[in-house]
């Protein structure tokens, strides 16, 4: 078979206006190059939408369908305001972790931007979704759209039956606990529309039965068992508050349990995204950069295309310094892109320093190293494993220690020989969800007494809880239906009662 010389391909269209045919051609070439690099992706579905539809998508956390809730309306209003006044541009793309992978292209983009977005979203993010272990574990790309449809219909049905207000209050409470609705260590079962529907009725009855069992007037033998000492329930602290409430809240109706479950499942779906921002955005940026450069080398892209592309690429991966007006923390695109570029460099042109820091990968096959890294890490571990001294020097990273008991801030480490490890460890810690968010777990339920629920906050670095705590506690009390207490455990193990919401209301009265 005769190998086609690159120069014999017809160059891609270079106008700034896009057409469907042009998008199709760009996609074809990008897909070809992506396959040459061995990117494994879900099939791609490209959808062209207007700015208004993009705002709609924003409002429903990027999903094409979602249940209705005022908070999405709030999101929409603020997006709309920002956009209308030109304070904020809309993202060029939204990509959905589903199978097929749906990438939205905005109508207003130029052809260059469409090409960039196809490479970035439809091949970069797409392959990450398909390969990364967190996404493989926590999300089910085949079923998510179906599940969202199920969720929307179910909640609409509840609204019809029990009133919009009732459902809205319940959702408010669930949303408040959304971040605490994830099993971090267990693999969640697969979602599927058919199964969900089939089993939902069954589950309702079963769950209600379970709960009743828990609160039944206690039979004699259990009392005897208990004489040995006070048992806690749950025996082990439970980190998944929504799960605990779904299974054990005494006063919830079956439909309310189902709604709690829906919020929990959706929270779980977004859980990996929160943990892989740097990796994922960096990966996608690396690939749009690499794929489009390859096409340019093959002579398919016009210079005008490259200039526009490079300009927006540079904007995206720019890291403003700490004292700039534009500084908003570490830019995940910048950090991620720099790291992936650097890993490739370590493989292809290792220095002595690299050999010393990364003996395993220095001089290795970069595609294999990439594949391994993409599949098996999240931000926290990715940084701990791969952040090289060179990247720290390039971004001039430094760590600042802020102890409220001290008058001044201390620069604890900078990008020098003595500081590399500490900066790296600190940055990795910064992306550890476990330390970013307060650690609050279910500690005990007073089964014998007033059925009160006790939560415990394990303090981290003496950080107190924020001032929204009492609001959240009210939400928990609404779900639980009885008194809820929050205790705080400091680093020395001392326990202190932080907050208590009394709730003596009974069934029919809860939900104020």
């Amino acid at each position: 078979m005769k190998k086609r010389a690159p120069s014999r391909r017809t160059p891609l269209p270079a106008s700034s206006e896009w057409t469907l045919e042009a998008i199709d051609r760009y996609h074809e070439e990008i897909a070809r190059v992506a396959a040459e690099f061995g990117l494994d992706t879900y099939p791609v579905q490209i959808e062209i939408i207007t700015a208004e539809q993009m705002m709609d998508a924003y409002a429903s956390v990027g999903m094409p369908v979602n249940y209705h809730h005022w908070s999405f309306g709030k999101q929409f209003l603020s997006t709309e305001k920002g956009y209308r006044r030109g304070q904020m541009g809309l993202a060029y793309e939204i990509v959905i972790n589903s199978n097929p992978c749906i990438a939205y292209l905005m109508e207003e983009n130029t052809l260059t931007m469409q090409g960039l977005v196809i490479a970035h979203a439809a091949y970069g993010h797409n392959s990450f979704f398909k390969g990364n272990y967190l996404f493989r574990t926590w999300t089910n790309a085949d079923a998510i759209i179906d599940y969202l449809i199920f969720a929307r219909n179910y909640i609409a049905e509840c609204e019809e039956r029990y009133g919009e207000e009732e459902v809205e209050l319940l959702l408010d409470s669930c949303h408040a606990l959304m971040n605490l609705g994830v099993d971090r260590y267990k693999r969640p079962p697969k979602l599927s529309l058919a199964k969900e529907k089939l089993r939902q009725r069954e589950r309702e009855e079963y769950l209600q039965g379970q709960v009743n069992e828990l609160w039944r007037t206690l039979p004699v033998q259990e009392v005897q068992q208990d004489t040995g000492g006070r048992r806690r329930f749950p025996a082990e602290p439970e980190e998944n508050l929504l799960y605990f409430i779904e299974k054990h809240a005494p006063l919830l109706e079956p439909w309310q349990r189902e709604v709690v479950r829906i919020v929990r499942k959706i929270a779980q779906y977004f859980f990996p995204q929160r943990q892989t921002q740097v990796m994922n955005e960096g990966w996608a940026s690396f690939w749009h950069y690499t794929l489009l450069n390859r096409l340019y080398d093959e002579g398919l892209l016009a210079d005008s295309f490259m200039l526009e592309f490079l300009q927006s690429h540079t904007n995206v991966v720019y890291q403003p310094p700490y004292n700039s007006r534009w500084y908003g923390g570490i830019n995940p695109y910048a950090l991620g892109f720099a790291m992936w570029q650097d890993i490739r460099r370590i493989c292809e042109e290792p220095t002595d320093e690299d050999r010393q820091w990364f003996p395993d990968i220095a001089g290795g096959n970069w595609l294999e190293v990439f594949d391994f890294a993409m599949r098996n890490f999240k931000d926290e571990s990715f940084i701990a494993q791969y952040l090289s001294p060179k990247v720290m020097r390039d971004l001039r990273l430094f760590a600042v220690l802020d102890d409220e008991r001290e008058d001044t801030l201390e620069i604890s480490a900078i990008h020098d020989e003595g500081g590399y490890r500490r900066v790296r460890a600190m940055l990795s810690e910064q992306y550890n969800l476990g330390s970013r968010e307060p650690n609050i777990q279910v500690w005990n339920v007073d089964l014998r007494g007033d059925r009160s629920l006790t939560l415990r906050h394990q303090q981290y670095q003496r950080r107190p809880l924020g001032d929204t705590t009492d609001e959240v506690m009210k939400h928990i009390a609404r779900l639980w239906g009885f008194t809820v207490r929050l205790e705080s455990v400091d680093e020395d193990g001392g326990v202190e009662l932080l907050d208590e919401v009394r709730n003596e209301k009974r069934r029919n009265h809860n939900g104020d």
């Binding site: 791609v44 579905q45 310094p321 760590a399």
Partner: protein, 421 residues
């Protein structure tokens, strides 16, 4: 394999429901913000959208999060001056002059949540739980108004509606079609006849026979009816119900010496508000301005508000003029008539009973609603007392007293409070 789907023409406003939910949930806060906004802006541009801000606290979605304090070690980018072990003052960021710096990641900004209400949403809130008086009745009555409209042609109808051109054209077509075979034969026979005559002369054999056939064919063709009932076409007219969407609003104002600028401006706002309210229900609104002192005059808007007169007051002159205008231009039940009268209550004593009679007998029966506002800080005057006697017998009459511009809005609501009809 790629699928490219063009969704641009799919339904927009997927978030409309969420937006409505948001509005419903924060109705109270939004309404409060709207009332404040109304006080702040001129009545003239009431008819625009409004930027509304509600305290972000009210609509926060709380989560457990870390508060300030404790130990925190953070990594920053772009080191330009520090080495390890340096001590620096708080805050680290915000070197860019202003010194305020962005709050750290955990600290939520306590800013207001600001968003744009559309014009419709703004006015809906503004007019919330107001209803056009007696509107229900008018709406029910509306359906009886029909308008006939042309709708092509039909094959049956009344003789008065015959469309002659169409009918004749049809008849001609029919005659041509029915006569076609004979006409063709006729032409053929004529050609044969000419040939025969040319060859054999007038007396040739068969000429006679051909002539006879021609005569026969002509008779046949002529035997086709010139016009048939089948040909008749009638103009078709259909009845379309038309909503009666025209209203006329009478603004009656006292411009005598006792009405100072401030009182006039209050009156003006009242008229504006009423006008705006009517635009919600009617497509087309005429406004008639009648000003009066001792004599009444119909004027244009500018003159109405801006010219000054002096002298006494005879209110009935204005009411009589209004009655005349109604009879003259807005009679016949096609118009929804609204009246709004503003005065400081001063009137020539003997005139007040006359005013009541005119209203009672000549104006109120025609009006959907008539509102009287008396702009005075003092005791009610005789006109007020006379008008009070109308309240019992006319449901479409309302009156209120206003002292300051701040009273307008509540009064307005009071005047047009939802009434069950």
């Amino acid at each position: 394999m790629v699928r490219i789907i063009d969704r641009r023409f799919d339904s927009k406003n997927k978030s409309a429901v969420n937006r409505q939910r948001f509005m419903r949930r924060f109705r109270h806060q939004i309404r409060r913000a709207v009332s404040e906004a109304i006080q702040g802006r001129s009545i003239r541009d009431l008819d625009n959208g409004e930027q509304v801000s509600i305290p972000a606290r009210d609509l926060s979605e709380p989560h457990f999060q870390h508060g300030r304090g404790g130990v925190r070690e953070q990594v920053y980018a772009g080191n330009d001056q520090f080495s390890s072990g340096d001590h620096v003052r708080r805050p680290l960021e915000g070197g860019g002059g202003s010194g305020q710096g962005k709050a750290s990641n955990e600290g939520e900004h306590e800013d207001d949540f600001v968003f744009q209400l559309s014009r419709e949403e703004f006015l809906d809130l503004f007019f919330d739980d107001l209803a056009l008086p007696n509107l229900v009745r008018t709406q029910l009555a509306r359906i009886t108004d029909y308008k006939t409209r042309r709708a092509g042609f039909t094959a049956d109808g009344t003789p008065a509606n015959i469309n002659i051109v169409r009918s004749m054209r049809g008849a001609l077509g029919r005659r041509l079609a029915l006569g076609a075979p004979w006409a063709a034969r006729l032409r053929e026979v004529q050609r044969e006849l000419e040939k025969l005559i040319a060859a054999e002369g007038e007396d040739g054999e068969g000429v006679q026979a051909l002539r006879e056939e021609i005569t026969r064919l002509r008779a046949r063709i002529e035997g086709i009816p010139f016009i048939d009932s089948f040909d008749l076409r009638y103009n078709n007219r259909v009845k379309v119900p038309i909503p009666s969407t025209s209203a006329v609003m009478f603004c009656v104002m006292d411009v005598s010496g006792s009405m100072d600028e401030e009182k006039k401006s209050i009156a003006k706002r009242f008229f504006m508000l009423l006008y705006l309210f009517l635009t919600r229900s009617y497509e087309h609104i005429d406004v008639v301005f009648i000003r009066h002192h001792t004599v009444a005059k119909e004027v244009d808007e500018d003159e109405f508000f801006h010219s000054r007169e002096s002298g006494g007051t005879v209110v009935s002159s204005a009411l009589n003029l209004m009655h005349e205008v109604i009879m003259d231009r807005y009679g016949g039940g096609q118009w929804n008539i609204y009246g709004a009268q503003a005065s400081d209550g001063d009137n020539w004593d003997n005139d007040s009973p006359v005013c009541r009679q005119v209203l009672d007998g000549h104006i109120l029966p025609w009006c959907q609603h008539f509102a009287y506002i008396e702009i005075t800080p003092g005791e009610p005057q005789n006109l007020w007392r006379e008008y009070e006697r109308l309240l019992g017998s006319h449901r479409n009459f309302a009156m209120q007293r206003i002292e300051t511009p701040a009273d307008i809005y509540p009064v307005f609501r009071e005047l047009f409070k939802k009434t069950l009809v």
